[in-house]
Amino acid sequence: MTAGAEQERRIRVLIAKPGLDGHDRGAKVVAASLRDAGMEVIYTGIRQTPQMIAEAALQEDVDVIGLSILSGAHLELFPRVVDALSERGIGSDDVLLFCGGIIPRVDWEAVRELGFRGVFGPGTDTREIASFIREQLPTLPARAL
């Protein structure tokens, strides 16, 4: 292996858990599976505020943000994450957003309207998430080169 020549773009993904969920097994499984799919995954741990998530996304210059939530507060917290991101000039047109955890189907439309292109419930095959990222990332209109 050589430096540079193979320094092809590695997809950088932030996996974050907003709110007060106490456990993060799902998030860790997703993080590990994306690593195994060749991505660089930044995992921030539990109990993240929207500001912390947005700041991590900015500093880490990620291509993708995945939010995992189990508490049922997604319609409270996701808009606040999206706002905190846009305060920093990050929009769903240049960073790919997806979410997972316990998100009832009736809320999927609302979540999608916030800019989350993918919603993955319990039992999702993790390979599906990796393919989703590879397919969707190139279609972002304002993705930085």
């Binding site: 050589t2 995954v41 700041e55």
Partner: protein
């Protein structure tokens, strides 16, 4: 991307960083890490503004408490009114080339502090590549105005020795449990560390570990700076203030007019050696892969018709034969 547009993009990012635009800073780091044309343009534009920050590398084996110590040290620097940039390096998987970067978990309290910029970096397993990009990232954070830049690297191998060339002060962290390891540290990191920390000093054996380190230092070649040994308990913060003081002392030493120039020459030489090594192997191998020369040379060596050294010479000769210009431009 063409060379001129990369130059323009690099210039824009450098301007953004000068204005304090944190997103431009984050983006610039990505390009530097990727070692693409934009990244090189950013570095060229920023380099005259570097040299203000105190850069500190923290290394040691897995499990000695580096992340916790770095978090404490960063908090101590904040208490002293200094802004802090942190580069936390974790290994890439040799199989998938992916990485799971979890340093933000252990640095939770710092992540909502606007005076701290934390960037996770995967080692990417490239020959010389880690040190190459780490020194570039340190330069970018330095030029962005961070007073202190901390680089945390895992392990105690060759890569980490090279990373030491990216920072002025290298701190080697061990723990009382790492007694055997200290014994085996005869060469390598001991030579590049300017400060030694025995972390988890509340555990039994801490004083023995300190004695072992001092004994090893006593037999090292005499040098202008004698590495002090600091006992610390990162979990409680004990010893962290002393560590920060010692780092300041070493920084005064490297910036002392009597030998600042020599210190800096040594650092720059190490950087150039790393960069040239990486660039040479990149050029030689990329061209040989493209032309198929690499495959045929491997065939010849496998069949024992040629020896590896002359095959390597042939690869190097190939660089001279091709036009200058880096194949890994974008």
């Amino acid at each position: 991307m063409t060379a001129s547009s990369a130059l323009a993009a690099g210039g824009d990012l450098a301007d953004g960083i000068a204005r304090g635009d944190r997103r431009a800073l984050a983006r610039a780091i990505t390009h530097v890490e990727r070692d693409d044309a934009t990244g090189r343009a950013v570095l060229a534009a920023l380099y005259p503004r570097t040299g203000r920050a105190q850069s500190v590398g923290v290394t040691g084996s897995a499990g000695v408490g580096k992340s916790t110590l770095v978090a404490r040290l960063a908090a101590e620097q904040r208490r002293r009114g200094r802004s802090v940039g942190i580069v936390a390096v974790d290994p890439s998987s040799p199989f998938s080339h992916g990485a799971l970067l979890g340093d933000r978990i252990r640095m939770q309290e710092l992540t909502s502090d606007p005076g701290v910029f934390l960037r996770s970096m995967a080692s990417r397993g490239h020959l010389g590549g880690l040190a190459e990009s780490a020194s570039g990232v340190v330069d970018v954070l330095d030029a962005a105005g961070y007073d202190v830049v901390l680089v945390e690297t895992v392990g105690a191998g060759q890569d980490e020795v090279e990373v030491a060339s990216a920072t002025q002060t290298t701190v080697l962290v061990t723990s009382p449990a790492a007694g055997d390891e200290i014994q085996s540290m005869k060469a390598g990191l001991m030579e590049v560390a300017q400060l030694l920390v025995v972390n988890k000093a509340d555990l039994a054996g801490a004083d023995t570990a300190v004695q072992q380190l001092l004994a090893l230092l006593a037999i090292a070649a005499p040098r202008a700076w004698d590495p002090p040994v600091v006992k610390a308990v990162a979990r409680s913060g004990e010893g962290v203030e002393e560590l920060a003081d010692r780092i300041d002392e070493h920084q005064r030493h490297v910036r002392d007019a009597r030998h600042a120039d020599a210190e800096r020459r040594t650092l720059v030489e190490a950087q150039l050696v790393t960069l040239v090594t990486a660039a040479l192997s990149r050029r030689a191998l990329a061209e040989a892969r493209r032309s198929g020369a690499l495959g045929s040379l491997i065939d010849e060596v496998v069949a024992r018709r040629r020896d590896p050294r002359s095959a390597a010479e042939a690869l190097l000769a190939g660089i001279a034969a091709t036009a200058a210009g880096d194949p890994a431009e974008d």
